[in-house]
């Protein structure tokens, strides 16, 4: 086994251990013998059983797949656009989801359980479609990111306008919703995210050589027989579907897609296959532990998970900028 496979194997073990360890954390008082009993299905305490199976396990599993999904979406976008700052959120996905959530909160307040994730998903997808459309019209796919930033601001302003004239409490709900949380997830969310993640990974594994060719530049890739625009659009679509689904269930969890691939490049490698597998594993470990912090660091409340990821992410971002300054 070479060095890369050894470290990937070690990371995979770490993911499993993290998930198991994360189940032991939480505000409810459950000791380890109770926990073991509940896990193997011989639970004496009904309350502990509900807490573990209906609250903690769905949370840990969703953290696992959401961390994987956000990290690989970032990795794919960074490699296909050859831009180290590409991140699914820069395509206006969060502001699109925010607009969807706002409209749901204002007009469908009685049916939020279904309406909110659906509206957020549609909003996120809508924003990506506009971004791609603008980039197409401009005939320059490399300007995707700039178009994304502009669309982001546009959608955010519509959201704010609606909120200003809406019910005052809706603003609170939307703002806190956007801060992100895994508190609301249930097992069905895990199945949805996991299946989209699976499709995304299979597609990327099948096309990893073409994506690697893109790293050499558009002309070189084209000369190797890659349909550059088509490939980029397909990858963007996959990332959009993946991120939009995660955002719809978990709210805004920023910076995971940006920072995890950079860590992986340092530790494991830059080519697509290594990057994707590494990002998935490290992303999963990262989000599992961030959620543990979110739910167990304050005695009587939760910290929205997006606050923690953005805080860590922004420091990391500055660190990258500092390092690149030192090199040049």
């Amino acid at each position: 086994m070479n060095k890369v496979s050894t470290s990937l194997f070690a990371l995979a073990i770490l993911v499993i251990l993290s998930a198991l360890a994360a189940i032991t954390f939480g505000p409810a008082d459950i000791d380890s013998s109770q926990l073991m009993a509940c896990l193997i299905g011989s639970c004496q305490n009904q309350i502990a059983n509900i807490v573990i199976w209906q609250v903690r396990i769905p949370r840990v599993l969703v953290a696992l797949v959401a961390g994987m999904g956000l990290a690989i979406a970032g990795a794919i976008l960074q490699n296909t656009t050859r831009n180290p700052l590409a991140d699914p959120y820069l395509f206006g996905i969060v502001s699109g989801a925010g607009l969807g959530a706002t409209i749901a909160n204002i007009s469908l307040a009685d049916n939020l359980t279904i309406a909110l994730p659906l509206a957020a998903f549609l909003g996120a997808l809508f924003s990506v479609i506009i971004v791609v459309f603008i980039a197409k019209v401009l005939q320059r796919m490399e300007q995707l990111l700039l178009a994304g930033v502009a669309v982001s601001f546009m959608l955010a302003s519509i959201t704010q306008f609606i909120l200003y004239f809406g019910e005052p409490f809706a603003t609170n709900r939307v703002i806190f919703w956007l801060m992100g949380s895994l508190a609301r997830v249930e097992m069905s969310n895990f199945y949805v995210i996991a299946s989209i993640l699976l499709i995304a990974m299979i597609t990327v594994f099948a096309l990893h050589r073409q994506i690697d060719a893109l790293l050499l530049g558009d002309e070189s890739a084209a000369s190797l027989g890659v349909d550059v625009d088509k490939l980029r659009l397909l990858m963007l679509g996959i990332c959009a579907a993946l991120t939009a689904t995660i955002v719809a269930y978990c709210g805004g969890i920023g910076f995971v897609g940006l920072m995890i691939p950079h860590i992986v490049r340092q530790l494991i490698g830059v080519t697509t296959l290594k990057l994707i597998i590494g990002s998935a594993l490290i992303g999963a470990i990262f989000l599992i532990w961030v959620d543990v912090i979110a739910r167990s660091s304050l005695p009587h409340a939760e910290i929205p998970i997006g606050i923690i990821t953005s805080a860590l992410g922004s420091i990391f971002f500055l660190f990258i900028m500092y390092r690149s300054r030192a090199i040049t």
Binding site: P27, Q54, L112, F165, F169, I175, M179, A183, H300, A301
Partner: protein, 290 residues
Amino acid sequence: MKLTSLLFTLLLFSGATYAELNKELTNDESKPTIIALAPHIVEMLYDVGAGEQIIGTTSFADYPEAAKKIPRIGNYVRLQLERVIELQPDLIIAWKSGNPSDDLARLEQLGFNIIYSSPHTFEDIANEVRSFAKITGHTVQGEEVATKFEQALIKIKKRYQDKTEITGFYELWSRPLTTVAKGSWPQQFLNICKVKNPFEHVITPYPQISIEQVLPASVELIIQPLSVNQKEREAFNWEDWSIIPAVANKQILQPDADAMHRMTLRSLTALKDLCAEIDQTRSFLQQKHS
């Protein structure tokens, strides 16, 4: 912003102790154990005699004094589902507009019995007091306090209904300058105390406005509620605008924001005090004009 400062206080003050209260209280069938998810709900439950049945609440439930000892299970951003499941309440009373709807939906899914509070007027308060009293097994006391509240409300309304209207500006917040309009909670105070709000018909209930819009309204009275929780709050500096009659005549009232803005029986005392203060301004203006 108000929101951020609230968030900070709530982070700072979340250090209450878990009491073993719940275990002793869960035995009586007709007196269900309750998780009350907003300060005003806690206050109403104490008013009808159901305070001892509360086994969990959210941050800021600080009235009456005994409420400070109730275990906290979250704040208005997020509830700790695990703790709610652990406490096993017979009943959860939630605030429709103020609690995280996804958490409530999840609790309903898990089979908890949730009823909602959503008071918008003084009349709603009396109705909710009655229904909470009934569901918690305190019908008699609930009826008593609700009736007393309604009678006091009628008395106040009667006292001021024939008074002459004066034009007043309600400063809900100073930066940005924010006032109230129809559909907002404080607008009722203005209606009952016979204050004409120049911004009453603005489309949003809590409009942001500029001083330029206040100037032509020839405001005779400024109401500037202040909260004890916001010591650092900088109220709008009206001294610079002596062209406004209320400023020239020094008719600026500073009622207690906490008493006015919490939708409970106590709000009536705030109403009574505010109307009385406004009436003093009214007499002052009448003397000045005669």
